[in-house]
């Protein structure tokens, strides 16, 4: 079935899809459309239905209602083989085939192209090798699939999908269980594929990485899609906090970092930070469970981002200017309530004269001044 204005509908589109298991709707009204070479990422809490959506759009699950279009053709009328030449998947299901080398596993991707007995031609073999090379896995090609690490397996499964020469690739949590190096490597391969015109749809738990790689984001939560748009539209502190039900301030939209929650209770320590010198202390204090205040930090200083999530109170000054008397006064009142202050060693420069003033103030008022990270345990021991 083709549709008027096919050009507008793009490579892959979902039209008011309702998905769920055994006829019970889980999420409805899913409508979106992707152009050739676009990257779409589904984010959302565990169990929100990301996999259900992916399985439904790859025909692993029957649709409850709505239509999936590939190249503006209704997917439900395409044959299994037609779909296989256009769409490849990387699934979460564990595979443990008996005695199968990685190369054999990758070759399985040629399935839609081979003849009745599945024998590979020279052309097929060349594509298998190219796919292995694409994911940097030539060195493990002859290993048994059960002998390789999680990171290697994920790359081999991706090679298998690449080998299928798809126009669309759908991946369900491809980065789970991978360490940070393998995560970024995998996503870089995907982003390279997208640049070559392959449309990528995946679900990710790493929202920071999702923000960086995607052209479009779908937030999955509840009975409807909770948000659909470009990363800059979706990745606001507010949206993410609502999506994952975390406190405001824990997710930083600017750099995409996530912090643990701030220690609760009365402030016991004042950290004089700035220039990133404060962050190691904030984290150490958070880990030790000691409530603290941070100051005096220029707005959008790197320290500011972490402090706003972890500190009980933060004294902020305008960027590229010295703190005025009012702010110094405010900081001194906080120091009065503390037993300790931390001098993180931020350079004074031309504007940060307040640091010296506060340090002096603390000393003259009998506060104990810490300068090394290891000293944090001293506060902890006096619990």
């Amino acid at each position: 079935m083709s549709i008027e204005g096919a050009a507008d509908i793009g490579k892959l589109s979902l039209d008011s899809l309702t998905v769920g298991y055994k006829g019970v709707p889980l999420i409805s009204d899913i409508t979106l459309s992707l152009a050739k070479g676009e990257v779409l990422t589904l984010i959302g809490p565990n169990g929100s239905g990301k996999s259900t959506i992916l399985k439904s759009m790859t025909r692993q699950l029957a649709l409850i209602s709505g239509t999936v279009y590939i190249d503006s053709r209704n997917m439900s009328v395409l044959s299994g083989k037609d779909i296989a030449t256009k769409l490849a998947v990387v699934l979460t299901e564990r595979i443990r085939p008996e005695l199968m080398t990685c190369r054999e596993l990758v070759s399985a991707g040629r399935y839609p192209y081979t003849g009745g007995f599945g024998l590979l031609t020279a052309h097929d073999k060349e594509i298998v090798e190219r796919s292995l090379e694409r994911v940097h896995a030539l060195d493990i090609a002859d290993k048994d699939v059960t002998e390789i690490s999680d990171g290697q397996r994920q790359r081999i499964l991706l090679a298998r999908a690449i080998c299928q020469e798809p126009e669309i690739i759908v991946l369900d949590e491809p980065t789970s269980f991978l360490d940070i190096r393998h995560k970024t490597e995998l996503l870089e391969i995907l982003s390279g594929m997208a640049k070559q015109g392959i449309t990528v749809v995946m679900s990710l738990h790493e929202i920071d990485l999702a923000e960086r790689i995607s052209d479009k984001i779908v937030c999955v939560k509840g009975e409807h899609i909770a948000g659909y748009g470009t990363p800059s539209e979706i990745f606001t502190d507010e949206n993410i906090s609502r999506l994952y039900e975390i406190e405001r301030g824990r997710f930083n939209a600017l750099i995409g970092s996530v912090e643990l929650s701030a220690p609760e209770g009365d402030i016991r320590c004042f950290v004089i930070g700035g220039c990133g010198k404060g962050i190691p202390f904030y984290r150490a204090l958070q880990k030790a469970g000691i409530p603290f205040a941070a100051g005096i930090i220029p707005e959008n200083d790197i320290d500011m981002i972490t402090a706003s999530a972890l500190a009980g109170e933060t004294v902020v000054c305008a960027p590229f200017s010295a703190a005025d008397e009012h702010l110094i006064e405010k900081s001194e009142r906080i120091i009065d309530r503390c037993e300790w202050i931390v001098d993180s060693g931020c350079p004074a420069g031309q504007y940060n004269t307040a640091a010296d003033i506060l340090r002096e103030y603390a000393k003259t008022h009998g506060k104990r001044v810490l300068t090394a990270l290891s000293d944090v345990s001293e506060i902890e021991s006096q619990g």
């Binding site: 490849a88 998947v89 008996e98 009745g116 298998r160």
Partner: protein
Amino acid sequence: MTAADTSRRNTMRYCVVFLSFVVLYIAAVLWSIRSGSVSITFGEIINIILTGDETNKVAYNVIWKIRLPRLMLSSLLGGALSLSGYLIQTFFRNPIAGPFVLGISSGAKMFLAIVTIAMNGIFKEMPLSVTVVASFVGSIMSMLLVLLFTGRVKNMSILLVIGIMIGYICSAVTDLLINFAEFTEIVNLTHWSMGSFSAATWQSVKVSCWIILPALIVVFLASKPMTAYALGEGYAQSLGVNIKLFRVLLVITTGVLSACVAAFAGPISFVGIAVPHISRLLLKTNRPILMIPATFIFGAVFCVLCDLGARMLFSPTELSISTVTSMIGAPIVIWLMISRRHKNEY
């Protein structure tokens, strides 16, 4: 090592394995046809087979009416049994599954016992067609029962235990029936339920040929989706395999093959596990296109040799075939379980 080197080395390996299977088969056939209580020289045997020389009437009858059909039947059924084992392993993605372990052979046996007793008044001797159909129905029923449980338990070890229990239940019912059966039936049933190729006739060879060869062709044609199925249903489906159709096809061919064996030789244990396992180890791959012919030929070798053992080890007393196959097969299963546990695969 480049891909071309690996592929050349593998091809070499496959050739060597297949060649040795064929050589082994020829050797087993020669040894088997020469062995027996009547001693006949190779010269005479060749003469009898090629020219149909009937001067030595006893030797002629021994070769044509006893040894040759028995040899043919044990080859065919050995191949069929091993292949059905391989198919079940493919289906459950578990190398320890087999028609005997999952209770499929015992199901066939039970149903056949029921039919034999029920039909006793109608037929003087059970027609082959009834035997085959009865054991096919029995096989499929117990396989469906196992499948019913697979839907509920995802754990493969539990599935195997269930299969073994189904096997015990079927055997118990069979024994119960034998207890209440009449004397003439008992002789047939007990003998048959032990498993043996001794009842081989040219008629049974012909019928099993007609059943096994078409099934073999179907299995060959299904070798491509089998490769994809090994990756799991999700991947197989995404590659364009019609999973439901494929599963039905696999169940029916497995049922046909193991039913044929059960009908003509009774339940034979562990061949369905041991033969595919050894073939896999030698080929170092599980690719269906290679494993299908390999298990079939090696299954023939294995059963011809085991039958030879059953006939000759304590001659003139003949052992049941399962006595011999269990001795070899059961240790292999234990070894498989242990080595797989090692890899933390359960």
